[in-house]
Point group: C2
């Protein structure tokens, strides 16, 4: 028999990782709820007619497709077999796995728009699947945490998202981060001003590399892509502007000839001033004119979050969150005109950041707090009622199931990181006082059940 293995690009999450992941997901969930977002879950399996054509050609290829059940090959012709895999796939696979949380959300809104309270604020925390080549840090199955408001173009939603990002990260214990903000309308305006209207796409692709390749090479790339020297010479302000936190005046001056840019600047300014009105302590909001993030999708605000070391150096390549305003969530399903704004938090990256900065709290609600030892039949029986008392008091507790050597039982407590062990032997049964062993200090005390409950609960609070 061959050794079993995991499918490529997938992971098990054992108890230790689950405790940490649960902390992340519960914290995000609670924060989203604090802001009035409601939970939604959509199925793992969607009809391919819902998924295909929504993620570009590459996305279509990265969709995991499910083979039809039964005699799926019976009606196929030689021509079907000899054609390309893409054609054949349409004949033998009708369903696929969820690729992101946005398209299923759009499908849900379209199918339920008669009954939803609009504007609809939903959050969704579920895994998605992509048939990508697995590499370090990139998996074929991973969680996304999305929060979106649809059915309004109020800029309050953008300000709320800035607030919610700050609150989520601080609740997780991540104190050092930057919430970057930009606006698609400003990018559109820049393209106009440099005489390349509609070309903000290739413009952004090049500018996005500024950090990596430097100003000169960005210019070179732009010229190769057909931007004129005259045009790119007008780009100069872009290279300095992001060092200013609120560069509204510079932007207005620079882009005064573009109506859409001025609208974008005004939007940005309003979001900023609402965040101020909220009274957010120590806001970490920063304008970044180079921020584009899959531009084609966004129509207004664009967000991205990066975490830092306490000294300001970045923790992890890539962002831990991103999002923005879009104007046509459901257009692809025939329901146009629904504007929305949302963000997505990357659980794996947040996990890595928190590991690197050692930010995970010792979670005490999930793991076992007390292990009762099992010396022999009589002592084991005697312990059952004590076990129940501990649990009734809200303490996670268990008894070692077999009457084996104490060393083995203590070793079990150690491996499971159980902080307290209660020893029950003949002496304990006679006196009614139990021996409580603190596994960290090694200290042992003779105490009553009620005292154990008090001690352990005091430890829970700390």
């Amino acid at each position: 028999m061959s050794k079993p293995s995991l499918a490529r690009g997938t992971r098990d999450f054992g108890p230790e990782q689950m405790v940490k992941r649960t902390f992340i997901l519960d914290t995000i969930r609670q924060t989203f709820q604090r802001f009035g977002f409601q939970p939604l879950e959509t199925p793992t399996i969607e009809n391919l007619s819902v998924l295909m054509g929504k993620y570009g050609e590459e996305g279509d290829q990265l969709l995991f497709k499910i083979l039809n059940s039964g005699e799926f090959s019976a009606k196929l012709t030689a021509q079907d077999w000899q054609g390309d895999a893409k054609q054949l796939t349409t004949k033998i696979a009708e369903k696929g796995l969820r690729y992101d949380l946005t398209v299923p959300f759009a499908r849900y809104v379209v199918m339920n728009r008669g009954t939803l309270a609009m504007p609809f604020k939903r959050y969704q925390i579920q895994p998605v699947w992509r048939a990508d080549r697995p590499q370090k840090g990139r998996y074929r199955e991973f969680y996304q945490c999305d929060a979106d408001v649809v059915g309004t173009d109020s800029l309050l939603c953008e300000a709320e998202i800035v607030m919610m990002l700050h609150e989520s990260l601080r609740n997780l214990g991540i104190q050092h981060f930057t919430v970057k903000i930009n606006n698609r309308k400003i990018l559109t305006g820049i393209a106009e001003v440099i005489g390349a209207p509609g070309l903000e796409g290739p413009l952004c692709v090049a500018i996005d590399k500024l950090d990596k390749i430097g100003r000169e090479k960005v210019m070179q790339e732009l010229h190769e892509r057909g931007f004129t020297e005259e045009g790119t010479s007008k780009l100069t302000p872009i290279f300095d502007i992001s060092s200013e936190k609120q560069p509204f005046a510079i932007l207005k001056n620079w882009l005064s000839s573009s109506e859409i840019a001025l609208k974008g600047i005004e939007e940005l300014k309003q979001v900023w001033s609402m965040v101020e009105d909220f009274g957010l302590e120590n806001p970490q909001l920063q304008f970044d004119v180079t921020l584009a993030r899959g531009l084609s999708y966004y129509t207004g605000a664009i967000f991205e979050v990066k975490a830092h070391q306490p000294d300001g150096t970045p923790v992890h390549i890539g962002s831990i969150s991103g999002g923005g305003r879009y104007d046509n969530l459901t257009g692809t399903f025939g329901v146009p005109g629904l504007s929305g704004v949302g963000i997505s938090l990357g659980v794996d990256r947040i996990y890595d950041v928190m590991e690197e900065l050692d930010l995970f709290p010792a979670d005490q609600s999930i793991t076992t707090r007390v292990l009762l030892t099992n010396f022999d039949e009589a002592a084991g029986r005697y312990g059952l009622r004590i076990l129940k008392s501990l649990r009734d008091a809200g303490i996670n507790a268990e008894m070692y199931p077999d009457a084996v050597k104490l060393k083995k039982q203590l070793d079990y407590a150690d491996r499971k990181q159980v902080p307290y062990v209660v020893l029950i032997g003949s002496q304990e049964m006679e006196t009614g006082l139990l021996t409580l062993k603190n596994m960290k200090t090694g200290e042992q005390n003779a105490v009553s059940v009620n005292e154990i409950i008090e001690l352990v609960k005091a430890g829970l609070g700390s």
Copy 2:
């Protein structure tokens, strides 16, 4: 553009259902943790080599299989196409979707047995997929909640499971239920005693129908299946025994000639007396000699739970939980001799029971508690700091994003079942006192922010 639809047999869970499902899953999760079980999650996608052959031939067919990526059909021969779908599947699909939580658990234990603290107590709450024909109440994607202990054959684990079932259901608010218990060894012994050793399988299939078809037809079926008149005449006690709650004496007397039956009776008795030693209030444990549940798998205790109306009539056809002791979890992966015992709770059925009996509490931790109205720019801005104060106090709160008619804003609060609305207009901004509207009673009061926090928190506690 065609209207989007859900894949057959799948469901969306909107906010209202999610609130209820989250209550169920969180309650179960917490109870499992209280008993020292630790969380595990395994991937949705498993290699078919792990899944195939583990669920019988029917199970193999019900597995959802994932089409290989890329040019999967390039190397196929005419022979491959013309063969049956089963053969062809092995050439174009290497991965499948999780079918239950037991096989992935076994795979995990085998792959990690060097590092796991044994006995290993894990719980796992995840969806599974089956390409079944969808019908009312049967879905292709549904959650399972499993808890298992492996690596010990201590009967304490069986007693713990009885305790945990009581605790889980009572924590959910389900007060009226029966935990049925049987033991495979008793069934094996009965087959011996009636002169049909090894035939407890067909015996159980027939006896299982007792409730539905009655004693006479059960006998008829047994004779058709080749059981002798002489043998089945010795079955008489089976028809009366389950009305006794603890029929150890009758069982011993009846099955005294079978060593294995006597061992099973002894096990049953021990589990029972441990539950008594725990001091469980009002235990709902009942012996049921007809309980078999996929017999081939179980080697000791067998469990099943049914919910009732307060008057004792059953709530729902079928059980809400089942499980038992097995002796060879990992044998199929080449690691023999690992004994375990576990249960599985059916989330969909528990949901239906709780709906039918109206047991869901009004959950206040997930939904929005306070909506702030939005009259105009100035009032909206004024409200932002109040919104933050409410959230900082732990209250889920939101502001209506647009300055539309009050009726529309109140209608939104109604549809979202928000219990309090705070009205902010010019008067409120002048006096600093806000108008708090109780959406249930219609009552309105002029109050300060701190009073709102107190009032809403008092409501949270109730």
